[in-house]
Structures are given as C-alpha cells and as structure tokens.
C-alpha cells in the first residue's frame, strides 16, 4: 500500500481532483502541490469560487442548460434568433457550438441520447419540453446537433418523427469531410456519408 504523503485533508483533495476528467492521481498531486504553493493567489479564490458555484448552479427550466440562474444566460439573451432551436445532447455540446460562434440561436439540452444497449428510452430525455417549445409558434426550425453515432442518430430520427406533427422544419448537422481534412486520410464511413450528403455548388 502506498504511504500517505501528507495529512488526510490534502490526501482527500488529491483523491477528489484525481476524479476529474483528464486528471489522474499523478497530475492531481501536481495540481494540489501547485495550489498549496499559491495558497493566497489560487487555492483560496478557487475554493471560494467552487463553493459559490456549488450553491448557485441550477438546471435551466426552459432549455436544460446548467447556469447560476434559471432561465439561463442563453435563454435570457434577447439578441438570439428565437426562430431557431438547436437540440444538443449535453451542456458540453452546447458549449462546443457556442465556441464555434456560427449561429446565435436558442438551445435545448436533451440530457442523454436514446440507447437500447444501455436501456435509455425516450422517458429519460427532455422531450416533452422540446415539443412544447417547438409547438409555441415562435420556432420555425429545429436543428438536431447530435453526435454522428448510432445513439445520436437514433435520437435524431426519433425526434424527427416526434416533430412531424408539429410542422416545424427539422434539419441535422452535415456528416462529411472535416475542415482541413484530406480525402486520402479519411475513413470509408466518413467518405460515404460525405458523398450521400453532397450539395450543389452555386
């Protein structure tokens, strides 16, 4: 058994940080060591920020995003186009699309995707709220920004069927050649998806 390097409080901190994505026990020890060295500049403000965030983080009642207020900052933003609703699986996907900055639209976070393998059915997804938002009249287009995986596309087809009666335009993200991608290096699945989704130029 490994010998403890420090007191139980520090060991617990290392253990908790080691559970974060991208960090293992080794990198957690380095992070804790850095925090202890920069106690006043980093450790105390970080602890304070985490405590405040833990107290205030809520799930947005409207879109399912995580924020410190409900409705969230995105739902409150009046500069966004209310006629476009982008459906994503998780808050991580929402952040990724926001980083891209290609569209200033509203979002809807499903919380999961359908997976018959793992027993995740429609009841586990935030679908009634999505239908309610799409039915309101303000939304003209629903963009399904879901992963190009079996689970993601199963969910996309299910939502498409669900929204057929609502009468909004339903679109999905294109599948194909990534920016900077060279055809010679692409896999056959991506290439055939790109060919099937080809578009007219001009």
């Amino acid at each position: 058994m490994a010998q403890a390097l420090a007191g139980p409080e520090i060991e617990r901190l290392i253990q908790l940080l080691g559970r974060l994505p991208g960090l293992g026990p080794r990198s957690a020890r380095r992070a804790v060591l850095h925090l202890m060295r920069k106690r006043e500049e980093l450790l105390v403000p970080l602890a304070d920020a985490m405590r405040v965030a833990a107290e205030r983080i809520v799930t947005c009642d409207n879109c399912g995003n995580l924020d410190t207020q409900s409705p969230c900052t995105i739902c409150r933003d009046s500069r966004r186009d209310p006629s476009i609703l982008v459906v994503v699986e998780s808050v991580g996907d929402l952040w990724a699309l926001e980083r891209a900055g290609a569209l200033r639209a509203n979002y809807h976070v499903l919380g999961a995707t359908l997976s018959p393998f793992d027993g995740v059915g429609p009841d586990e997804l935030s679908l009634p709220k999505l239908v309610e938002r799409a039915t309101g009249g303000a939304v003209k287009e629903v963009i399904l920004a879901l992963n190009a995986t079996v689970e993601g596309q199963t969910t996309a087809h299910y939502i498409t069927d669900l929204l057929t009666e609502v009468g909004v335009k339903v679109t999905r993200l294109a599948h194909g050649v990534p920016v900077g991608g060279e055809l010679d290096y692409l896999d056959e699945g991506t290439l055939s998806a790109a060919l099937l989704s080809r578009t007219t130029i001009g």
Binding site: P21, G22, P116, F117, G119, G121, A148, T149, V150, Q153, T154, H157, Y158, H175, D187, E188, G189, T190, L191, S192, A193, A194, L195, L196, S197
Partner: protein, 250 residues
C-alpha cells in the same frame, strides 16, 4: 494469448478519456469484448461504428482477461447506417439479438447471417424476411428452435400455415383449423417463397409476430429484458416502408 479474426462491430462504450470497450461478433471466437486503446480518438472512432466489418487482433496475458483489441476496417457501413433510420434500427436490432448469445462461444452461422444482412441494408423489400429468419436463427442457436418441417399433428408436409404456440412446431391448415384463433400464423416465406410477392407487409408482420412470441417467452422475459420498444419501432418503420412501396407500385 493472441488471435486474429474478423468481426462485426456491435457496440462501443467509452472507457476513460480516450479508450473504448469494443463489443464484436467474430467469425471464430463468438461475441467478444476487449479494450481498444485510443478507441474514442477521431482516428479510430470511425472504424468502430456498429455494423462495420473489421479485422481484429486480440491480445491478453491470460485467456479470461478482457484483453486488448486492435481493429482495422474491412468494410465500412457507417455512412449508410447513420443516414437511414431503417438501417440504423436494423443494425441496433441485430446487435441486441446477438447480445443474447453467451460471450466467447462461436456461432459461425450467426456471424455469417448478420454480416450478410449488413450488406443488404437499404433493401427494404428483403429486410423483413431476412430479419425474421435471423430471429429464428438466434432462437435455434440458443436451443429454442422452431420445427417447421412437418405438421405436429398429422406429419404432413403440405399446407403448413400455423405454428403451435405451445410446441413451436408447424401445424397444417386442416389440423389447426379448430384452434385457428389460438395458433400463430406461419408466413409462406419461411417455407417456400423467400421473397413474398403479394402483400409483403402482411407476411412480414406475421413473421415478426411468430418470432416475437417465442423471443419474448424464451429469451426476453426470463432474462428481464425489455427489447420491445426498439424492435417495435423497427417493425413499424419497415411495415410503413413496405406499404408505401406497394402503394407506389400499384
């Protein structure tokens, strides 16, 4: 321990940040799981999509370890699978059925049949009969095969149109008539005509009702599995497309 084989990707589950647990149906080693280092990376993930046929190398220190896979695409079907709802549902259904098989037990016929069905993705008129036959094969491989060769009551090989829900054996029209309301219908494509020419949707519906009854009784219910939702959606979508095709043809 090391072996090389071909496999059909059934599912991939994230393991840590970049690795994946790959589940495949192999030709010689049955349903098998293994770790793929970097399996969630943008380079490897496309090869590990369900429905793809891959060349596999499995390595482990001991035979009963999870082991590690390296996989290379032999035939990629992900492009079609991800864009067509029926193809997607078919691949998911095949994977769910193959999950009923025990791990690491060879089922050559299942691998060959599943691989053949994956080459037919997109051919709606063939999909119903081949999926019903595949479900019968799964029942048979697990020891619950139906006997459709002759009538359970009279031994005749003629005019077999029912299956007894009790014995799983075929019954002729004459022998089954008094209990017709309790009998399951035996679609003709399971005996003679592999491709129904008239009312294909009705025959396919009868076929799925037949296999669904025995799958539920022998496999889903005893194991507490609820595969009904995904299977029902696949059948509904398939029947809807068959009816649309038929309407267009007439």
């Amino acid at each position: 321990m090391e072996w090389q084989d071909q496999g059909l990707v059934l599912s991939t589950r994230r393991h840590g940040e970049r690795d994946a647990i790959l589940e495949v149906m192999t030709a010689e080693h049955g349903r098998h799981l293994g770790l793929v280092r970097g399996g969630k990376s943008s380079r490897q993930a496309p090869a590990l999509q369900p429905g793809n046929r891959v060349a596999l190398t499995w390595r482990a220190r001991l035979e009963d370890h999870l082991g590690q896979f390296t996989a290379e695409t032999l035939e990629s079907r992900a492009g079609l699978v991800l864009t067509d709802a029926l193809a997607l549902q078919t691949v998911t259904h095949l994977a769910l059925l193959m999950r009923l098989l025990p791990e690491r037990a060879p089922h050559h016929r299942v691998f060959e049949a599943a691989d053949a069905i994956c080459t037919l993705l997109g051919q709606t008129d063939l999909m119903g009969p081949v999926l019903v036959r595949f479900e019968l094969l799964i029942l048979s491989e697990l020891g619950f095969g139906l006997d459709l060769s002759c009538c359970a009551a009279t031994g005749t090989h003629e005019n077999l149109i029912f299956v007894s829900p009790k014995s799983g054996r075929a019954v002729s029209a004459e022998a089954g008539e008094p209990w017709a309301d309790r009998m399951l219908k035996l679609p003709a494509f399971l005996l003679r005509d592999p491709r129904p020419r008239s009312e294909p949707d009705r025959f396919v519906e009868d076929g799925f009702a037949l296999t669904g009854y025995f799958l539920e009784r022998h496999l889903f219910e005893p194991r507490g599995l609820g595969h009904g939702g995904a299977r029902s959606q696949l059948i509904a979508n398939l029947l809807s497309r068959l009816r649309n095709n038929e309407q267009r043809a007439t």
